[in-house]
């Protein structure tokens, strides 16, 4: 798999946070970026596009990230969801890991962390 093949979905209620991450992804050669602004949209957009990797913030309106994560896993057991959260408290970390998160990032998201995750995905194929 190469970087052009990776399909990334960004779930964040902040249009600013989505834009920052999207700008970075496009700048490094990612071709497919999908966005969702809340938990319900996240599940719908996931089912429509089957992304390779998901970056998900933790406080999202309408459906909590853990509910969204659980629903995504019900649909796709192999989903790779990175919790990119502003609230990386121990409880949230535990919940996210228990729910099957691929990785946990504390905001502000640093570009080199995102790149590391993309590199791993490319390696894993």
């Amino acid at each position: 798999m190469s970087i052009e093949d990776i399909k990334v979905m960004i779930c964040d209620d902040s249009v600013f946070a989505r834009k920052k991450l999207k700008d970075y992804l496009l700048s490094v050669g990612v071709k497919y970026v999908f966005e969702a602004a809340d938990g319900i949209e996240a599940v719908r957009v996931y089912k429509e596009n089957n992304p390779t990797i998901v970056f998900m913030d933790i406080i999202m309106p309408k459906k909590t990230e853990i509910e969204a994560l659980t629903e995504i896993f019900e649909y796709d057991k192999k989903a790779k969801v990175v919790m990119a959260s502003s609230v990386g408290t121990q409880n949230h970390l535990k919940d996210a890991i228990n729910a099957g998160a691929y990785e946990f990032l504390q905001k502000p998201i640093e570009n080199n962390h995102v790149m590391k995750i993309l590199t791993n995905i490319i390696k894993e194929g």
Partner: protein, 294 residues
């Protein structure tokens, strides 16, 4: 970091008036640091030596630095070091006050020495070892010790200033906190922290300052107060509160939650109890930070 408080320090010690300080903050933008202030700050020249150099310069046509070297006050290497060092905000503030004649070089020298000695300032302002003295400084300026949950409030505001320096810039002067129970807002972003400690937190600013603040955080120029601007300021508040909850979770085993942020325009923000309002004066305008019991 503590450099932001130099302005408050001068005010609290009645070394300048509020009007003089505001004027100097405004002038910072167009102020150029001169060798004298830099040398006094670094401890390379005393204010008396700086005066000597200035007096001599009026008689001979030479640069300040050359005269200082000739008189044996400084070496070339020290001058190079001073001129290439990063220019910090409090020095610009000091320079503006000296330029306006609100302080003499000698008064500036005494104030900067006293300030550094009291708050054990060093160049590595943001290092962790200094967090304790920073907390003391913040408490001294804001008198949070009278507030409910004073300890948490000090932690919170200390982190706030660190995050503003980290993500927005260090060119701000925090003014004295006002206690408010309702607040007329032009643009308001608020977020509630819930759990063992609960609080209402918010940023408020007029259009220009709000957009300026957002532009800094986004690292791109924004021209109007649109949805993207609101989302950007909201995200900064969320980011900061998020980092606070992480600290509370890691250091104090206290689990807190955040509610989604709310943006409001032209509204009156009302508190059941009372809240602290801390005005932060940036070159692009004043941003008010408000924290109150929820």
């Amino acid at each position: 970091m503590y450099t932001q408080f130099f302005g408050n320090f001068l005010l609290n010690n009645k070394l300048v008036s509020t009007a003089q300080l505001s004027e100097a903050i405004e002038l910072k933008k167009s102020t150029r640091l001169k060798l004298g202030v830099l040398a006094i700050n670094a401890g390379y020249m005393t204010s008396e030596q700086v005066e000597n150099v200035h007096n001599m310069q009026q008689r001979v046509d030479k640069r300040i630095g050359d005269i200082a070297v000739e008189l044996g006050y400084m070496t070339e290497a020290q001058i190079d070091e001073l001129l290439s060092a990063q220019k910090t905000g409090y020095l610009l503030l000091g320079q503006a006050l000296v330029d306006k004649g609100y302080m003499t070089n000698a008064q500036f020298e005494a104030a900067i020495k006293d300030y550094k000695a009291r708050y054990k300032m060093s160049d590595s302002d943001l290092s962790n070892e200094q967090t304790d003295s920073m907390k003391a400084l913040i408490n001294e300026f804001y008198h949070f010790d009278t507030a409910e949950n004073a300890g948490v409030l000090i932690e919170y505001v200390t982190l706030l200033f660190k995050n503003i320096v980290r993500f927005i810039g260090d060119d701000f002067t925090p003014l004295e906190a006002a206690i408010v129970s309702n607040f007329q807002c032009s643009n308001l972003v608020s977020q509630i922290i819930t759990g063992a400690y609960s609080a209402m937190t918010a940023f408020e600013a007029n259009n220009a300052a709000f957009t300026g603040f957002a532009s800094r955080f986004a690292a791109e120029e924004m021209t109007s107060d649109d949805d993207f601007t609101n989302a950007t300021v909201s995200e900064f508040l969320n980011l900061h509160n998020g980092l606070f909850t992480v600290n509370m979770s890691n250091e104090n085993e206290t689990e807190l939650e955040l509610t989604p942020q709310v943006f409001e325009k032209d509204t009156i923000f009302t508190f059941e109890g009372s809240a602290f309002c801390i005005p932060l004066v940036f070159p692009f305008g004043t941003v008010n930070f408000i924290i109150g019991s929820n």
